[in-house]
Symmetry: C2
Subunit: 395 residues, 2 copies
């Protein structure tokens, strides 16, 4: 009578993750539209009937090969109730539904997805946190060895966590061949293409279609603010740097946003709430993106910076807001020029920057193209790919 239908085992957890049992299920009590489940550590988690039926992982409801749902919740009535509920010998929650369907829930999975207040707060607290930095990061640059990253998964993970949480890293001892960068990027995933190509060459060009391809001083910016989704990671691989000048400069855009928030909250909010049009102007393309300079996530935390003075259209805001908006913009740019925020370093041949392009603003000081060769190879990889790779390495 307690034997589990083997068909229920196939897709027990509709996922490739593992869910350790942090507490046993000790009791389950019916409520009107839901069940109250009691855990050994005293937590009570409420699960609605609809939610439970929706998340049945049996192999009728989930296709075992893809682990994707076949069942849709609208296939059963909104009032569907359990006929019988109990905790089985393995500590799983077992539900026999009114319509004869049976569902079985792994206690580790159930606890990991519980939506009582305590469980939700626990998950919020576990989200990765950005580590803000200023000029002091220049003394302790997060550096990683190219060969180790290419050959060892734990070295790869260590590097990728630094990219995610600090947003500025350097790789050392990178061979100075042109085929190296795509091989490194593919340790994470595929490369994000743009109108500048899959790989781009940062060199001074007579027919430049971007100020990046000149020898000018380039102010602190994110790349492609003109696209709805700014590239997540930017790679710059130095093949040769024999020119005078042309140092790399970085600031933590999140740290500057935070400093502005502390200093003058009203200016900070103007940068969060005023959309700016960024424009990429060329003969063959015409990208325009309207978005605020500082983006906040659903929790009100700074999640993205979008900045490129040379890629910006005229401000378009209600006239009464314009003077204050200019004050906010000036203050943000002013902060990017303050030494306390800036890491300035010359990238040498065989070194490579990898940074969070949606957080870490980068710049280049002016250089003299006549003084020697300077050639960086660049590419982008999106944040989705970084996070997916981290998830797989952490399984």
């Amino acid at each position: 009578m307690n034997a589990v239908d083997p068909s229920l085992e196939a897709s027990l957890i509709a996922d490739w993750r593992t869910y350790p049992i942090v507490a046993d299920l000790v009791d389950v009590k019916p409520r009107e539209q839901a069940l109250d489940t009691l855990w050994r550590d005293g937590r009570i988690s409420l699960f609605h009937h609809q939610w439970l039926r929706d998340n049945c992982a049996c192999n009728q409801c989930v296709y075992g090969v893809t682990r994707e749902q076949l069942f849709e919740i609208v296939d059963v009535p909104e009032e569907l109730h359990p006929q019988r509920t109990r905790i089985d010998e393995q500590g799983h929650l077992l539900i026999d539904w009114q319509d004869g369907h049976r569902s079985r829930y792994h206690p580790g999975w159930l606890r990991a997805h519980a939506y009582d207040e305590a469980s939700r707060a626990e998950r919020r607290a576990q989200r990765p946190q950005s580590r803000l930095w200023g000029a002091e990061l220049g003394e302790q640059l997060p550096q990683f060895d190219y060969q180790a990253v290419m050959e060892q998964d734990d070295a790869l993970l260590h590097w990728l966590l630094a990219v995610r949480d600090i947003g500025l890293t350097q790789l050392r001892d990178v061979p100075t061949r042109e085929d190296v960068l795509p091989r490194l990027a593919k340790r994470i995933s595929f490369i994000r293409e743009s109108n500048f190509g899959v790989l781009f060459d940062v060199q001074s060009k007579a027919d430049a279609d971007s100020n990046a391809y000149t020898a000018f001083n380039l102010p602190l910016h994110t790349d492609l603010p003109t696209r709805e989704l700014q590239p997540g990671l930017q790679f710059l691989h130095c093949l040769v740097n024999e020119a005078t000048g042309g140092e790399s400069v970085f600031v933590d855009g999140f740290a500057i946003a935070e400093a502005l928030h502390q200093e003058t909250p009203e200016l900070f909010h103007l940068l969060c709430e005023t959309p700016v049009e960024f424009r990429n102007k060329s003969r063959n393309s015409d990208y325009r993106c309207l978005a605020p300079i500082i983006a906040l996530d659903a929790h009100g935390a700074v999640s993205e910076i979008r900045m490129g003075n040379f890629l910006r259209g005229p401000f378009d805001a209600p006239a009464e807001r314009m003077p204050a908006f200019y004050s906010a913009y000036r203050r943000f740019i002013g902060m990017t020029r303050e030494p306390r925020f800036r890491v300035q370093r010359r990238l040498e041949a065989g070194q490579l920057w990898c940074f969070d392009n949606r957080r870490t603003l980068h710049a280049r000081t002016e250089f003299d193209p006549a003084s020697g060769a300077r050639h960086f190879k660049g590419c982008y990889v999106d944040r989705d790919e970084l996070l997916s790779r981290i998830h797989v390495l952490q399984r």
Copy 2:
């Protein structure tokens, strides 16, 4: 004395667009932080000193080759005032600044970027509007000829405007070779790669890593809701379709959102405000994206639908919101099943769907893989690329 410095002409408009003169500038009056400009048609546009100095397009401020700004507004004091302003013989606004710099503004460009209330309202009214549709679109499918689109820029533009504004189009007489789809996509721009490749093959596979690659009924969904930026356009090119079943189904997600808004605004708002985690589960990747099913733009208009029942994680919302959220989700899915919204068509060899993947939900009815071959070739192109191509074609 009225001669214009030729260096001012080089980058007169820091853009590749043209700006027709819709009204002449007739007068300019100083205010404290701004100028009031009077146009022949009676409109008065206020421009702040900061805004004007910021948008100087002379070839000291803008590099003529890239048409990107070199000047940054923080390079001058916030209080910088004009020394003298006038309208010159060509009808341009001329400003001599306190610090000796001179700026000259084309009246067409100035009017196109004016931010008085009337000018801003005019621009809002000119934004492209989505044309909502239901089942009736099946009787008058927007169809386009492949050869014309490949060879004629006006046919290309005509097609792309339909993709932008209607979100569902069909191309006819497309050669059934595998190299045709990438050539068509490149008429717009490069292809958006994903973990499923640059091109993907929609066929029934034994080792499927997505339910798309099975013979099952696939409910109405957007592709890759598991990515922060869902692909903008989806292409499906039918190379062979000799199987029984497997019809294509489409609904206008914007029309359904609008209908839900009319019917029960509180359910509509729940879908706008409740983030849902979408998950793409495979052995080699682990994509997760937390976003609401209906996204609104800065003006409160529906701008995107994100839906894929088989690519969704368990709902995670405050317990008190869960029952109402299930009602909203059930109602949205219920509507996608209503005949009034559905266009159902069998795609034959030599036909191709191109649709807005962030608006138009698509589905496939179950098919019998033993009854005959069925092979669609697919790819994605992002919305940025579509809009850029349209802008260039419209210059």
